[in-house]
Symmetry: C2
Subunit: 286 residues, 2 copies
């Protein structure tokens, strides 16, 4: 419908590529590209071109330490079609060796869901996408049919309001845990993963107890109050693996006074090290 041929997923599938890169660079840090123009350094224009330029500089500066980049589509959409073009440019600017997660939290039904899956896995050629399970499993089926792509299902999000529904008790367990359990039955051909906010270490522990192998994406590291070490300790498996500690604000908009790209690199290196140290101290040797 959109492209003549569907771009093939990279060999090995999303989860395995993430694990390989993690071992290669000794990091479980995912860097979230959330280009919020209200926080830009004064020199960067608050335009679609500006968000593209800003992201490219962050990618250049931090790529040695990022297992994945996670692109937040909202900040691009706010600039309309010009913003969507910037999103395409930013995605294309990430080296092939680094898996890309499109964080767009889509969820819809039938052929609409099929169109969203095409948008993310074909038009944008993202390696993984976050999805919202509220509409039920048939709504996620079109995503799950993309072999080797990552489909990261929201379970417990990092915001305080996530308690309003995700934490509600259903037959003795919170809704988020039911979502997680059911997601584990939906594994193939896509690589299913789960999203659990780093701000909820208890939820990270409970979800990890369900499965050793699944990739958990834990956003909210840094500004939202959780440390990298806390997130990895709570959500990684018994080897210290499979937990993507995702940070954005503290890397993109460091409070210190150095050149922004240099500061971003410095924080990314620090936190990549921290995300790996848990494995060295607590986990079995790789």
């Amino acid at each position: 419908m959109v492209t003549d041929s569907v771009p093939e997923a990279q060999p090995g599938g999303f989860a395995e590529r993430v694990r390989q890169r993690s071992r290669a660079i000794r990091s479980w840090l995912c860097i979230g590209l959330d280009p919020d123009p209200t926080k830009f350094p004064p020199k960067v224009p608050r335009t679609a071109a500006g968000i593209s330029q800003f992201c490219q500089e962050i990618i250049q500066a931090t790529q040695d330490f990022a297992v994945c980049f996670k692109i937040n589509s909202a900040f691009f959409e706010a600039f309309g079609s010009a913003g969507w073009k910037a999103l395409e440019d930013v995605r294309a600017g990430i080296p092939q060796s680094i898996p890309v997660i499109l964080d767009s939290k889509r969820g819809d039904i039938g052929n609409t869901a099929t169109a969203y899956a095409k948008a993310v896995f074909e038009a944008l050629n993202a390696d993984a996408a976050t999805v919202n399970p509220f509409l039920g499993w048939d709504s996620l089926q079109p995503f799950l049919e993309y072999g080797g792509r990552g489909v990261l299902v929201l379970c417990r999000t990092s915001n305080p309001g996530s308690r309003d529904f995700q934490q509600l008790e259903i037959q003795g367990e919170p809704l988020y845990l039911r979502v997680a359990r059911e997601a584990l039955q939906q594994r193939v051909p896509a690589d299913v993963g789960l999203v659990v906010g780093a701000t909820h270490p208890d939820a990270l522990e409970r979800v990890r107890r369900l499965d050793e192998e699944i990739i958990i994406l834990a956003p909210g590291v840094g500004a939202q109050g959780a440390s990298v070490a806390q997130a990895v300790r709570a959500g990684s498996n018994s080897n210290g693996d499979n937990l993507l500690a995702s940070a954005s604000r503290d890397i993109l908009y460091p409070s210190s006074r150095g050149a922004p790209a240099d500061e971003a690199r410095r924080v990314a290196e620090l936190w990549a090290g921290e995300s790996w140290r848990v494995k060295e101290h607590d986990g079995a040797p790789a």
Copy 2:
């Protein structure tokens, strides 16, 4: 951030504008613009330009009978930035007198939600948007701050899988009803509305019993199995009002052999009449 000035909502707010137009044209029919290229007539190109052309023809042919148009963003996103440009063109092509719902089911947290709200209410200047409540009420707050815009909260969607989570029992009531009850406490400054699939007349009745005034959007009329009359009867208030019966496929892709635009107009006229007849037969006089 995006535009120099926020486009003001039309006077009266979304719900009141919908009611006024409904009285003026004697219809409760909402027409869903779901431009699925796999269903296009042979002459329409399966490109971004094609979906724009197709939608413009449908708008021209059916606007006399549509209380609202509901634009489904997924089919545009599938064409990347060119598709998003087509979305802007289609939105701009709808006459000012007709409220426009962007059906994009967004839901995210903090400044990300703010960016999504800007995308829909500023960059696209939609009069209303569908939103997904799974992330909790703080995630919808940035939408709710737009005075006079419609914020249509998903409660029970029209697909079979909606039972997976929306129907789960929580303290004696299904989750979708709890979402509806809590949404009713979030009314201002935006105009909150609810989304309940026309395929669930029981859910339409239960949600309507909570409130007479709220606008309920009921997608799934026609191809998904519910008739216009069934939807309006189940979900309208005691005057036969406030239920947007939303149809897409049967209007956009009629099975009969006439010219597609003529057929779309014929079905739209028929169903607009049907959506109003319930009011004339069962409701109090306007």
